[in-house]
Amino acid sequence: MKKCLLLIFFCLSLSDISIIFAQQKENFLISFSGDPDSLYWVLIRDNRRNFIKFLNAIEKEKGNYVAMWDGTDFTGKNVGSGRYSVFISKGINWTIDKSFGIDGRIGLFYKDFYVDSNIGEFKVDGEVASVFVNGVKYTNTGDKIEGETAFVIVDGKIKISQSGVSKGDLVRIMYFYPFLIENPWDLAIAPDGHIFLLLRFLKMDRGFYPGLVVKLKPDGKSKDMNFGVDGEIPDIHRAHQILVAPEDNRIYIAGSEYGNYGTGCYKLDNGAYWFYIGGHKDSGTHPATTWWPTGICIGEGNKIYIGDLKVYDRTKPMLEGYLYSANTDPYIIRPGPSMERSAISDYFYRTGWNTGISKMKDTGSDVVEIYSLKLPFKTIGISCDRKTSLIFAGSRMPEGFVSIIYDDGKSFKELTRLKDPQLGGIHTVRIFNDFLYVIEDGVSFSEDGYCAEEINRKPWTTTGKNRISRYRLHFGKEIFLQTIENR
């Protein structure tokens, strides 16, 4: 592409925004005035209004913002000659998407009743986990009520031992909607909106109970029963991250092959097991051994990056597709649970539970860190919106929030935080179109951002929120600024 040498400089007032647009050397400098201390985005679109690039504007001086466009699209490729439009948008917000699950959430719920004349019979949608009467836990005794602190579920109704319940008692039902969702760890969304939810382990226990993957319909209200076994891939052992690759008709699950630390590969259409990638070989002395497959992301061609940074051809089973490893000591840096593909070829992001967020580059024979950001809070789950280069990072603080981080190609910058007082410690987040899924696992956390990945070292309890919430993201209204010609 021939760079346009024409200097464009203008200033206009539009509502409360004044804008200056210029090209310096091979970059386009976009300047404008706006409200001080605000968050402004610049969007480049082509003459058909197709999205080209998303830029974060920097407040150069009080109320004066600049953004630099280097003439590339969001994948880093130079755009062709032509006319491009510049839009400006202010701020970002989110609202819970009430069309999802129950008022925007699925997972663990509580519902309170006061005992009235219909003594001892209640109903909730979903799977009942526990019943409390005035704080006393009642036990599900199966077919028949046995004892004073017992309940049974018959024809969907919860029947409580009448001898132990009086009028006015508070009955709290703890239940999961739309089914048992314990320790949600990650999810991936197929292009059609179906959700593949990874549950790390069930039974509120850290033991060896296997987890599973569930295929949920896009509205989060039910399983897709045509998939796998009644909508599930059962017996997924201590997995970390799930991703779908529609182009391969595959689901990849980091660490799903418990016992050999392999990355499981399943068919996207029916959930059938295909093979696993990596894993142990020769007692771990083999260079292709994947010891910590806590995160995965796919790369260019057939590449897949696994955990402690091994690079594989994902079309080949076990160690057959091994290509090369990062030279970084894999035993020190334990990534995950999130590894996220960047929009730019051969780059990806990863989190480590004590390393923050790193941008990695695949050199073709090694994987190296380019730059990183150590956040003032622990984050173990990130999601990258490849179009905007925005990285959403869930915080694992007691009052959870989602941090928005911008990668300008040279460094990371935390821009803002999305908050919801309902949120607790977040395991990870996933962005899909305008939706942001926030996953809270069932593992409790400490004040300093205790991570679930530390469970092998520290005692933990199972009082996490066990939920998935879906938010709709709202960027400010796009305001047309100017057309530029790229020659």
């Binding site: 029916n270 097991y273 093979f275």
Partner: protein, 845 residues
């Protein structure tokens, strides 16, 4: 295949010993290290379960020891004892009980050594030196092979490559001038052979090439080697078979839990990367290998754990509460107060109705599970020809409701299973008397003429060439379209067979394939001529007394040898109204469900002909039942000496009596059980015991008739034959001196009902089956005298099989030809055909 394995093991072991076909031999090995680095080697042999010395073991690849400076050592020697350059072990004596010697380099460096081997038996002593240089990890030397089955082995010292190459050349030469050249494309002939990861690819390819040369078009791809799967594909086998889903372990965790367990296993195993290679042309998906469901006693002992299962089944079946003695289903107690094990006996005595229905509840559950495995498998293999467990034919004979005999009628009546796959085992007591016809008709009946396939099992030393050839014809005549030669003689060990390449058997396979290629346009997709005679099988009999399986088979042989088309039907079929298709029904069983017998009684009243074999009739609750309106004065008492057991040794059974006609031309030996009958005045006595009391009667009932025999027709027929031939089962000659008079008596109703013999063949013991496909017909014809006189014992080898000339009615036809024999001339509506053993007659109308 454990059940089959055990059976065949005992037979092979027995036979090998008595035939002395595998003389003891000695094996000595010496190794000289030619490499610059110290080396050691280990030795194994592929062996069968029973070795020459009668030693049996499940270890088919035993370790013989390691090479060291001190000779053969049991443990891997320390490095100082490894062979240095040019050092040798000296002659090492090794146990000589395997066909292939495998030598493994245990040093971690490339092999370079000289291997001297010498083997010796009574008649041969040979030795040879082999140079092992830079070859794969293992070196293989064939020690002996069998040029002819049932003959002693011949010692040889050949590398695996030399041996397979030599075998390929043998087949090429043998088939060069054979008149039939085509190989089958529609009828599938399959086999498997084990290879290991380290096997030399070229050797594996040569083995597959041999299979192709034989004419096999299908391969059981068990995915034990990706390379093998790929090579099978590359070599153009038309079909493959795969393992499917097993219902094992069968337990009573509940249908839903088991369903999820099966679905999970299927998800992890049926659509994997390794299956992708050959999954698009899968012909048969094999479910369970051996089926075992535990015992009924174990089921009852679970008591409260299975109560929900029982109650829900009882509700579904509307089991009358009064029958089982409760006011509410919830009141059922599987182990009543005061009961002590065995509970089944307690229930039988104290609550027979509950005993019966508990059996049914259990079988309903087990068959539901079995059908579910098929249903799940179909999701992954929607185009497979057969999705079925391996039907344990031997188990059906030896088992029952309680064991692994199963109620397969029930299993196959459910949605899920597709077709049937059987394991008909050579059952010596019926050796070449029609046992494979029975297997096939039993399977055909259960699957209601659906797709069928079978393993063809061969115990070397059992005259396999003729037996296998005859067997596949018996199966094909009844609609079998998939055959698995079990097992091809690969190099590596296998569960029980000698497993070596028996060259004349390979040649026989090649011929069979070419004959089937000639006939397959007529056979494939054809329909069998309908039968008007049926034999009844009932769950009630299985539940109360499974020992009468043998009688069912023997009765079948009477009808087979008489050359009548016959179906084996179940109570379920009768309940579905199938009786209208038949004119004569044999009930070799005393126990029949009351509801089912009501339908049989109505059928008789409308003109059906019923044969009550054994004289006794009881319902599912073990209560006597009235046979019909004309039987008001009928009563019977049974003297039972013993269960029949295995028919191979009926001579062991004491003779309880004899049943004879007036001039003693018909003379049945009465064994096992005898009914003393008080008969209605309207009854006509057909046979009498020695004391002149009635032994068989006939009575009119409405428009039909009933024959009651106070003894078991089938086993009498067998016993009479044994009496005449005094067969020595260990020598495997086959007696076929079956009494025509007994057969004629037993089929009286059939003749009188105007039912024709197949193709109107009147020659004694010559049997045919006719199949139709458009304007094509295939008549498969057999001579169960094998071209010999009836009193002549037959050794089932081709050289002993005589020629049979028979007239076969083929009706109006354009063309007729014989695949194996000759069409001598046309006469009337038929043709005279000359053949040896069996033949396909191909007819176009």
């Amino acid at each position: 295949m454990k059940g089959k394995a055990q059976l065949v093991f005992f037979l092979s072991f027995f036979i090998c010993h008595l035939l002395h076909c595998e003389d003891k031999f000695t094996l000595e090995v010496r190794i000289r290290n030619l490499s610059d680095v110290p080396s050691t080697y280990s030795f194994k042999v592929s062996r069968c379960m029973a070795d020459f010395n009668g030693y049996k073991d499940w270890d088919f690849l035993p370790l013989l020891g390691y090479a060291s400076k001190n000779g053969l050592t049991a443990e891997k020697p320390s490095k100082e004892l490894w062979l240095l350059k040019d050092q040798e072990t000296g002659w090492m004596k090794m146990p000589a009980y395997g066909k292939v010697l495998h030598i493994y380099n245990e040093s971690g460096n490339s092999s370079f050594c000289e291997i001297d081997v010498r083997v010796k038996n009574k008649t041969q002593e040979i030795s040879r030196s082999f140079l092992w240089n830079e070859k794969p990890k293992t070196y293989h030397i064939y020690l002996y092979y069998f040029p002819e089955s049932a003959k002693p082995p011949v010692l040889t010292l050949k590398t695996s490559n030399e041996f397979i190459e030599e075998t390929i050349q043998y087949i090429k030469t043998e088939m060069k001038d054979y008149p039939l050249k085509k190989n089958p494309k529609l009828i599938a002939f399959s086999t498997d052979f084990g290879c290991k990861e380290d096997d030399e690819p070229e050797w594996v390819r040569k083995n597959l090439l041999l299979l192709k040369e034989l004419g096999l078009n299908c391969f059981f791809d068990t995915e034990n080697s990706l390379f093998l799967s790929e090579t099978v594909k590359e070599m153009g086998f038309l079909y493959v078979d795969h393992w499917g889903l097993s219902s094992w372990p069968l337990n009573y965790d509940g249908f839903e839990k088991k369903r999820r367990e099966y679905a999970t296993t299927a998800l992890r195993s049926l659509d994997t990367y390794y299956r992708r290679i050959n999954r698009n042309n899968v012909k048969v998906v094999h479910g369970d290998d051996e089926i075992s469901s535990g015992s009924f006693e174990e089921f009852i002992a679970l008591d409260s754990q299975i109560k929900n299962l029982v109650v829900s089944y009882f509700k579904k079946m509307n089991v009358p509460l009064s029958d089982i003695g409760v006011k509410d289903y919830e009141d059922i107690r599987l182990i009543p107060e005061g009961a002590i094990p065995p509970y089944r006996e307690f229930l039988k005595k104290n609550n027979p109705a509950l005993f019966y229905w508990l059996n049914r509840a259990r079988m309903e559950y087990l068959t539901d599970l079995m059908a579910e495995t098929g249903k799940i498998t179909q999701k992954y293999y929607p185009d497979a020809f057969i999705i079925s467990p391996n039907w344990p034919a031997a188990g059906v004979l030896g088992g029952g409701y309680d064991g692994h005999g199963w109620d397969f009628w029930l299993a196959y009546s459910k949605e899920g299973l597709k077709g049937i796959y059987g394991e008909p085992t050579p059952w010596y007591n019926f050796y070449l008397q029609g046992i494979f016809s029975w297997y096939a008709d039993m399977m055909r009946s259960q699957v209601r003429n659906g797709p069928m396939g079978a393993y063809i099992t061969t115990a070397r030393g059992s005259y396999p060439c003729f037996l296998n050839h005859f067997q596949v014809y018996e199966l094909a005549a009844r609609g079998m379209e998939h055959f698995h030669w079990y097992s091809y003689g690969g190099m590596w060990g296998n569960e029980n067979y000698a497993n070596e390449i028996v060259r004349d058997l390979l040649r026989e396979f090649a011929i069979v394939h070419r004959e089937f290629a000639e006939a397959e346009d007529y056979l494939y997709g054809s329909k069998q001529e309908k039968a008007e005679v049926a034999i009844l099988w009932t769950p009630a009999q299985e539940i109360w007394d499974p020992s009468l399986h043998q009688e069912l088979v023997a009765l079948y042989l009477i009808l087979l040898h008489s050359n009548y088309n016959v179906d084996i039907i179940s109570s379920y079929d009768v309940d579905d109204g199938i009786l209208k298709n038949f004119k004569v029904l044999y009930m070799p069983f005393a126990y029949v469900e009351r509801k089912t017998f009501d339908l049989i009684r109505k059928w008789v009243e409308k003109g059906g002909n019923l044969v009550v074999d054994g004289g006794l009739l009881k319902d599912e609750y073990n209560r006597p039942m009235e046979i019909g309106k004309s039987f008001k004065d009928y009563s019977v008492s049974i003297k039972k000496s013993a269960d029949i057991g295995s028919l191979a040794h009926l001579l062991r059974h004491g003779l309880l009596d004899e049943a004879m006609d007036n001039d003693s031309s018909v003379r049945f030996p009465v064994i096992s059980q005898k009914a003393e009958m008080k008969i209605p005045s309207a009854a006509k006595v057909l046979l009498r015991y020695r004391d002149s009391t009635p032994a068989a009667i006939e009575i009119n009932e409405g428009k039909g008739r009933v024959m009651i025999t106070g003894f078991l027709l089938g086993v009498s027929y067998q016993r009479d034959e044994e009496e005449k031939d005094k067969p020595d089962w260990s020598r495997l000659h086959v007696g076929h001196n079956f009494s025509t008079a007994i057969r004629e008596f037993a089929t009286k109703f059939v003749r009188e009902a105007g039912i024709k013999r197949v193709c109107n063949i009147e020659k004694d013991m010559v049997v045919a089956r006719k199949r139709f496909k458009g304007n094509k017909q295939v008549i498969t014809v057999f001579d169960y005298h094998f071209g010999k006189r009836p009193e002549e014992l037959v050794f089932p080898e081709w050289e002993n099989i005589g020629e049979t000339l028979v007239w076969i009615d083929i009706g109006k036809t354009k063309t007729v030809r014989s695949v194996r024999g000759d069409v001598v001339k046309r006469e009337g509506s038929g043709v005279w055909v000359k053949f040896r053993g069996m033949d396909f007659i191909l007819v176009e109308r």
